[in-house]
C-alpha cells in the first residue's frame, strides 16, 4: 500500500530539517543543499529532479549517511543520523538503506550472485543464507540464469538490475537510487523502470534521483531542486495525474 493511500500518517522513513551542505570556503563556497525540508513515508516512491549540479546526488548521499551535512537534521526510521559515528552509519546502511548508482558500482571480479550477496555477508549473515537470498533476488529481477556471469558479461540494463537486487539484499527500509537509468539505452531503461515500478507496487520505499521524466513518472511524488533548494513538489498518480504523469508513462 502506498503512503499517499494510507488514511493515517505513518512515521516517515526519511526526514530532514533545515538541511544544508556547503563545499569549499570563502569566495569558492558552494551551497550544495540549502535548507531542505523533506519527509518520505513508508512505501512512498519519491523522485527528485533538477538540473545538473543542483544538489540531487548530494541530498541522496546525505540521506544515506555517506556524507555529513554542514547543518540541519537527518532522520532515518525515527533516528537522527547526522551526528552518528562512521561505524554507526555503516550499521544503519546495512540495515536500513540500499543504494543504486548510475555507474552500477558492481565489483568487477565478482559474479552477479556474488555481488548481490555481498551486503548480506557484510551484515553477518551466513554464506548459505546470503547466497539463497541473492538467488531469490536475481530471480525477482529476471537474471537467475545470469547469476554466475561477471559484470563484464552483462549488458548495462542487466548490470543495473543486479545492482538493484544487491540494494534489496538486506531488505532495506529505503532504496536510494542515483540516476539509475543514466547510463542505459532505451530498452534497458524500460527494463529498469518496470523493475522499479514493481518495487513501488510491492511497497518498497524509494527515493530516485533522476533526469529522466519517465523514471520520475513511476513515483508517487516528484520534487524539483534548483541551486540546492526544493523549488517544486508534485504529487503523481502513475501517469494519470500531475504534469509529468500526463506526459509520460511506462507504456510509451
Amino acid at each position: 500500500m502506498n503512503a499517499n493511500e494510507s488514511p493515517l500518517r505513518a512515521e516517515p522513513v526519511l526526514r530532514t530539517r533545515g538541511l544544508a551542505m556547503d563545499y569549499g570556503q570563502g569566495a569558492g563556497r558552494v551551497h550544495a543543499l540549502d535548507g531542505i525540508e523533506l519527509e518520505v513515508t513508508p512505501g512512498e516512491a519519491l523522485a527528485v529532479m533538477g538540473p545538473s549540479g543542483c544538489g540531487k546526488s548530494t541530498l541522496l548521499h546525505v540521506l544515506g549517511g555517506l556524507e555529513r551535512p554542514s547543518a540541519g537534521e537527518v532522520w532515518v526510521a525515527g533516528r537522527r543520523i547526522d551526528g552518528l559515528s562512521e561505524k554507526a552509519l555503516a550499521r544503519l546502511r546495512r540495515r536500513a538503506v540500499g543504494f543504486v548508482f548510475q555507474a552500477f558500482h558492481l565489483m568487477d571480479e565478482l559474479t552477479a550472485v556474488e555481488n548481490v550477496e555481498l551486503p548480506a555477508l557484510l551484515a553477518g549473515r551466513s554464506s548459505g543464507a546470503a547466497r539463497r537470498r541473492a538467488a531469490e533476488l536475481l530471480e525477482r529481477v529476471g537474471l537467475a540464469e545470469r547469476a554466475s556471469h561477471l559484470p563484464s558479461a552483462l549488458s548495462g540494463g542487466q548490470r543495473q538490475r543486479v545492482a538493484i537486487a544487491r540494494a534489496l539484499s538486506n531488505e532495506p527500509l529505503v532504496v536510494l537510487a542515483d540516476e539509475p537509468t543514466g547510463n542505459l539505452d532505451s530498452v534497458a531503461t524500460l527494463d529498469v523502470l518496470r523493475l522499479l515500478d514493481s518495487l513501488r507496487s510491492a511497497g518498497q520505499t524509494l527515493l530516485i534521483v533522476t533526469h529522466d521524466e519517465r523514471v520520475a513518472a513511476t513515483a508517487d511524488r516528484l520534487i524539483t531542486m534548483r541551486d540546492g533548494a526544493l523549488v517544486d513538489e508534485t504529487r503523481l498518480t502513475r501517469g494519470t495525474s500531475g504534469s509529468l504523469g500526463d506526459l509520460v508513462g511506462l507504456e510509451r
Binding site: E67, E86, A90, A130
Partner: protein, 614 residues
C-alpha cells in the same frame, strides 16, 4: 633527437611531480648498490697490502716451526730449492698484560741486526732491543698501546704439539717491558687472526705476536721444553712454496702427538696460506656484505616493482593522455623506463660513493698490513657491476608495467579503467565464510596476486637475511675472537637494519598501492555497510597474511642461505629466536600497515565513488 628530448622532458617532469616517490626509489636501489660496492671494494683490499708488506719485510716463502726441536727446524735450510733463510728463532708463549687486557702472545726472540728473510718493519718506534718489546701493528692497536708504554709478560705453558691450545697456566713472576716499536710482518697474519708462527698456537685463540731479543724471549721460558723454534725460508721459486711445504709436512691425517715421546713434527706454512689467513677477517665481512647486497638487490626489485605498479594504478590516465595526443606505445614505454633508469643511475652513483666512503671503516681492521688504510679502490669493473645491477633492478621491475601501460587501450586509459582486478573464484567462495575483515582482506589480496607475490617475496627475503644474521651471531658467540666478532657484528647489524628498513618501506608501499587500487572496492563496501574499522582491518590483514607466509618461507630460506654461503660451518640460531621471528614479523607489518590502511579506509565514500565517474 626531438623524440629523445621529449622523452627526457616528460620523464623529468613526472619525477619532479613526485619527488617523494623518486627519493624512495633512489633509497631502495642505493641501499643495494652501496652494500654491493662495499663488498666489491673489499675484494682486493687485503691481497695488495699483503704483497706490499711481503716486499717491504723480505717476507718468507715458507715459515717452519717446531716445538723444542731446533735441530729439526734447522735441518730444512739445506733442502733443495731453499736459497736463503733466517732463524731458527725461539718462540715462547706468554700472557701479555696491557691497559687492563691480558691476552696470549707468541713472543719471538730476534736479533737486533736485520734479518735477510722476514725482517718485520717498524711503522712506529724502533726494532727490538734489550728490555724492549715490539708488537705486531694490529695487535698493538687492539691493545691500545704505543711506543713508550709498558707491558707485562709472563710465560705460559707452550703447546706440546702444533695446533694444540696453549695452557692458561702462567709461570714465573712476569717481566715488564717497554714498548720499543710497532711493526708489520708477512710471516703471520695480522691480529685478530691468530699470530701462529708456523701453527705454533691454537687457531681460534686471541693470539697476538710480539718480538723481543733472543735473551729476553728465552728469559720468559722456565723450561726448554716450552720453547718453540721458527725459521723463515726463501725459495728459488716462491710460487712453489705450497708444494715445498707439502713435501716436508706430516701427512694431513696424522694427528698431533701431544704427550707422545719425542718432539712433535715440524710444520711448514707457505706464504700463500698466510696471505689467505690475512684476508680472513675481511673475508667474513665481505661474504656477509655480498650476501646482503644480493638480498638487498632482490628486495629493491620488489620495492621498485610495487612502487611502479602502484604508480601505474595512479598514472593510467596520464598514459591515456600521452597516447591521445599522439604518443606511440613505444614512447609511453620509453618515458616510463627513462624515469626509472635515471633514478637507477643516480642510485648507482650514490651507492658507489657510499661504498667508497665507508670502506675504511672495515679495512682499518687490517692495520697490520702496509697500505691497508688506503686500500679502497673503486675499479672500472666495480663501477660496471654496480651500475649494471642498479639498471637491472630498474628494468626488471619496470619493464612489465611499462609495456602493459604502453599496450593499454587509449580509451580505457582515459577512463582510468584499464586495470581490471583478477578473479580468484575459490578464494572468493572461501572468503564468504570468513568474518568481514578477513572476507575483505582475502578479496583485496585476490584482486592483485602479483602484488601479493611481491609482498611475500619481500618479507621472505628479509626474514631470510635476519635468520642468516641470527645464525652468524650464534656462530660468533661460539667463537672467542672478540675483535673479529665486533667487526662482523657491526657489519651484520648494519645489513640487518638496512634490510628491515627497506622491507618496512616495502610494506608501506604495498599497503599504499593496495589501498589506492582498492579505493573503489573499499568505498563500495562501506556504502554497502562495512564499517571503516572493518575496511581498515581488511586492508591491513591483506598485508599481514602475506607477511605470515613470507616469514614462514623466510626461515627455511635463511637456513638454506647460510648453508649455501658457508657450507663448512653452519650454526643454527637458537630455536626460540627462529620461532620469535614469525610473530615479530607479523606484528611489525601490522603496525606498519595500520596507518596507511586507516587513512585509506576513512576516505569519504561519496568522494571515492564520485571520482570513479570523473
Amino acid at each position: 633527437m626531438g623524440r629523445v628530448v621529449l622523452v627526457a622532458r616528460l620523464a623529468a617532469r613526472d619525477l619532479r611531480r613526485r619527488p617523494g616517490e623518486a627519493a624512495l626509489l633512489l633509497l631502495a636501489i642505493a641501499a643495494a648498490t652501496s652494500t654491493l660496492t662495499l663488498g666489491l671494494v673489499l675484494r682486493g683490499v687485503v691481497s695488495k697490502p699483503y704483497q706490499s708488506t711481503r716486499e717491504a719485510t723480505a717476507g718468507p716463502d715458507v715459515v717452519v716451526g717446531g716445538i723444542a726441536d731446533r735441530a729439526g727446524v734447522k735441518a730444512l735450510t739445506g733442502a733443495p730449492g731453499v736459497v736463503a733463510h733466517s732463524g731458527p728463532y725461539p718462540v715462547v708463549a706468554a700472557a701479555l698484560a696491557a691497559n687492563g687486557h691480558t691476552v696470549v702472545a707468541q713472543t719471538e726472540g730476534r736479533d737486533s741486526a736485520p734479518a735477510a728473510v722476514d725482517q718485520p718493519k717498524p711503522i712506529k718506534g724502533a726494532w727490538v732491543q734489550s728490555g724492549g718489546v715490539v708488537l705486531e701493528a694490529a695487535f698493538a692497536e687492539a691493545l691500545g698501546v704505543s711506543p713508550g708504554d709498558r707491558v707485562t709478560m709472563k710465560a705460559l705453558d707452550a703447546p706440546r704439539a702444533p695446533g694444540a691450545k696453549p695452557s692458561a697456566r702462567t709461570r714465573g713472576p712476569g717481566r715488564s717491558f717497554r714498548v720499543a716499536g710497532v711493526a708489520v710482518t708477512a710471516a703471520a697474519p695480522p691480529y685478530p687472526e691468530p699470530a701462529c708462527l708456523a701453527n705454533l698456537c691454537q687457531g681460534d685463540a686471541d693470539t697476538g705476536l710480539a718480538w723481543l731479543t733472543r735473551a729476553d724471549a728465552m728469559s720468559l721460558a722456565a723450561d726448554k721444553q716450552d720453547v718453540g723454534y721458527v725459521q723463515n725460508l726463501k725459495l728459488a721459486d716462491p710460487s712453489a712454496a705450497p708444494s715445498f711445504a707439502a713435501r716436508y709436512n706430516p701427512p694431513p691425517d696424522a694427528s698431533p702427538r701431544a704427550g707422545a715421546s719425542g718432539p712433535p713434527p715440524t710444520i711448514l706454512q707457505p706464504w700463500q696460506d698466510i696471505r689467505e689467513a690475512s684476508a680472513n677477517l675481511v673475508k667474513n665481512q665481505r661474504r656477509a656484505l655480498m650476501t646482503g647486497a644480493w638480498l638487498l638487490a632482490l628486495l629493491a626489485v620488489a620495492s621498485v616493482a610495487v612502487l611502479v605498479g602502484g604508480r601505474m594504478a595512479d598514472q593510467i590516465r596520464r598514459v591515456g593522455l600521452i597516447k591521445a595526443v599522439g604518443g606511440t606505445p613505444a614512447l609511453v614505454a620509453a618515458v616510463l623506463l627513462a624515469e626509472y633508469v635515471v633514478v637507477a643511475l643516480l642510485a648507482a652513483a650514490t651507492g658507489l660513493a657510499i661504498g667508497w666512503l665507508t670502506a675504511p671503516l672495515i679495512t682499518e681492521a687490517s692495520a697490520g698490513l702496509l697500505g691497508s688504510a688506503g686500500a679502497r679502490t673503486v675499479t672500472f669493473s666495480t663501477v660496471g657491476i654496480v651500475t649494471g645491477v642498479a639498471l637491472a633492478v630498474a628494468v626488471a621491475a619496470t619493464s612489465v608495467p611499462a609495456i602493459r601501460a604502453a599496450r593499454t587501450s587509449t580509451v580505457l586509459a582515459l577512463a582510468d579503467a584499464a586495470r581490471q582486478p583478477r578473479r580468484t573464484g575459490w578464494l572468493i567462495a572461501i572468503s564468504a565464510r570468513l568474518p568481514v575483515p578477513l572476507l575483505l582482506a582475502s578479496r583485496v589480496a585476490a584482486r592483485r596476486p602479483r602484488r601479493i607475490g611481491l609482498a611475500v617475496a619481500s618479507i621472505a627475503i628479509t626474514v631470510s637475511g635476519i635468520v642468516a644474521a641470527l645464525s652468524a651471531h650464534a656462530d660468533i658467540a661460539d667463537g672467542s675472537n672478540s675483535v673479529r666478532a665486533d667487526r662482523l657484528n657491526q657489519v651484520l647489524l648494519a645489513l640487518t637494519i638496512t634490510l628491515v628498513a627497506l622491507a618496512a618501506v616495502n610494506a608501506i608501499f604495498v599497503t599504499w598501492a593496495t589501498a589506492l587500487d582498492a579505493r573503489h572496492a573499499s568505498a563500495l563496501s562501506r556504502a554497502l555497510g562495512a564499517t571503516p574499522q572493518q575496511v581498515s582491518a581488511g586492508l591491513s590483514a591483506a598485508q599481514v597474511l602475506p607477511a605470515l607466509a613470507g616469514a614462514a618461507l623466510g626461515i627455511p630460506g635463511g637456513l638454506a642461505l647460510i648453508a649455501a654461503v658457508d657450507p663448512d660451518s653452519t650454526t643454527m640460531p637458537p630455536l626460540w629466536q627462529l620461532l620469535a621471528v614469525v610473530p615479530a614479523t607479523v606484528l611489525v607489518v601490522a603496525a606498519l600497515t595500520a596507518i596507511p590502511a586507516r587513512v585509506s579506509a576513512r576516505r569519504p565514500v561519496a568522494e571515492a565513488l564520485r571520482s570513479e565517474l570523473a
